[in-house]
């Protein structure tokens, strides 16, 4: 089982209660961003591009607890920035555990090994380590040679210390499914409980705007990746959401399903888009014109989105929306290896592309690519 039975039970009863109460919009996971500063500076990330006074600001533990209580979610994910840079992160995590919330503390793991002793293993706590692929893919994605080795060292140390460990892999244009499948094997061998996976975020603010997958290519990639799965692979994802990524299902976005709270307040409308901030969760629910969001809305910023923060809650809704949904989910959970000869052929014939920049650093493929770059551009980041 990829998640503890108690967690599955808590989530199931929470969703059923919301449905029985006739609530149309309810959150499932709070994305709690206690700070934006980070010890990496990935070129694809738009979360850390702020002036220094904003990067120095952080939420207090009390502000974090208030946000969690305000929206009432059973699960809290703590992205950032890098949460381990927050001096009060152990206190925040413990406070959430005391409130019986299932916590996913997202980290690039650069500091995980040295800070592990500040946390206690618990069924309520998972370290969600960001590892974007095999060594060179990850290193290139995070713009740091050696980043993968440090992250995997953190994973192994956390597993050895008895913590629950999940991983989080984001795929951009140019991702090679054969390599990602090897990456899954490596993660399971390292002892992780389960893996999360998502197409790259279409952050409006991301400095890199050229390597986000469109829907057609996302489906092809995820079909090759997730069909003919190995039994040992455990995913921390709603199975219906994974079927959506593989192109086997249609889902519409549930942007309120994973609301984001940060130093600015409640982000309108979702984790990816910033159309302003609400001061309370209720204000977020009431003031956002939800019809303007989701792929079907025609909003250009939603057009290629298939990410978990918008669609995983839709999968959960499908699961609990009808008997058909429950049966489909059970089938996917207990027998879903998705044997598919055509997908196997797709995988066998897959040619790693070199149009994306997320390719092997050591392969030399990038040399030609790099010559074509616009020489007027320079890295503004401190290096």
């Amino acid at each position: 089982m990829a998640i503890p039975v108690s967690q599955a039970w808590t989530v199931a009863t929470y969703v059923i209660k919301q449905k029985l109460a006739g609530r149309k919009r309810y959150p499932l996971v709070l994305m709690l961003e206690p700070l934006f500063r980070c010890n990496l500076a990935c070129a694809g990330c738009g979360k850390i591009q702020y002036p220094a006074h904003i990067l120095k600001a952080e939420l207090t533990p009390e502000e974090c607890f208030k946000a969690v209580e305000e929206c009432g979610v059973p699960m809290v994910s703590i992205p950032g920035g890098e949460p381990l840079l927050h001096p009060k992160m152990p206190e925040i995590v413990q406070g959430l555990i005391d409130r019986k919330k299932y916590v996913y503390m997202c980290t690039n793991a650069l500091l995980l090994k040295e800070k592990l002793h500040l946390f206690k293993p618990s069924k309520y706590l998972s370290f969600s380590v960001h590892v974007d692929g095999e060594k060179e893919h990850h290193d290139f994605g995070v713009c740091r040679e050696g980043g993968h080795d440090i992250a995997m060292e953190g994973v192994r140390a956390a597993v050895a210390a008895g913590f629950r460990v999940t991983t989080n892999t984001t795929l951009f244009d140019g991702a090679d499914p054969n390599s990602v499948r090897r990456h899954f094997d490596q993660l399971m061998e390292a002892g992780v409980d389960s893996m999360m996976i998502s197409p790259g975020y279409t952050y409006d603010k991301a400095p890199d705007q050229k390597h986000f997958l469109g829907r057609a290519r996302s489906r092809k990639l995820f079909r090759a990746l997730l069909s003919n799965r190995k039994k040992r692979w455990q995913f921390n994802a709603n199975p219906i959401f994974l079927e959506f990524l593989m192109g086997k299902r249609e889902l519409t976005c549930t942007p309120w399903g994973m609301p984001t709270f940060s130093i600015f307040g409640w982000q309108k409308p979702c984790y990816l888009l910033q159309d302003g901030y609400a001061d309370t969760f209720q204000e977020l629910l009431d003031e956002v014109d939800w019809a303007n969001y989701g792929t079907e809305s025609g909003n250009p910023r939603c057009a290629n989105c298939m990410v978990h923060s918008g669609y995983e809650a839709s999968g959960v809704n499908y699961t609990f929306g009808s008997l058909k949904g429950l049966i489909a989910t059970a089938k996917a959970m207990f027998g879903g290896l998705y044997e598919d000869p055509d997908a196997q052929k797709l995988l066998n014939d897959w040619k790693p592309t070199n149009h994306g920049q997320l390719v092997q650093i050591g392969s030399g493929i990038l040399s030609a690519e790099s010559e074509r770059v616009n020489h007027s551009e320079s890295l503004a980041v401190g290096d």
Partner: protein, 150 residues
Amino acid sequence: MATEQQEHLKIEELQQLSPDQIEVMAGRDRENLEGWIPALATEAEVKDAFEKAFDYRGDVTLTLKSGEVVEGYIYDRRQGSTLENSLVRVMPSKGEDRSRRSIPYSEIAALNFSGRDTAAGKTFEAWVKKYWEKKAAGEKNIQIEPEKLD
């Protein structure tokens, strides 16, 4: 809400195709706004300028009609039907009182994109170029360091 000008590549793409056929999404235009002092002569200019200021990843300087100068980061804006009921929300970067402020558009005399655009130039292409330069120079453990905050 980004302006149409900022979104035009995506809008053009979507006019040709449905999202389900798109292989790789068009990005959005990145405008070079650093140092820009927009004319705030008409209501449309004011609204457009604050929309861009909200999108901008650097600090701005607001000169209020009272003469007060507020420097900080615009993290939100609310557009109402008039300039009186439209406002920007600012996190000040200077002064003793750094608490957030809401300032109606109608009280603002001038806007200056005075702070550095913290998102400018940080592309994969730039990283690739820098990477290969460093590699060629024999460097090891090549990385982009986050900016120093002090």
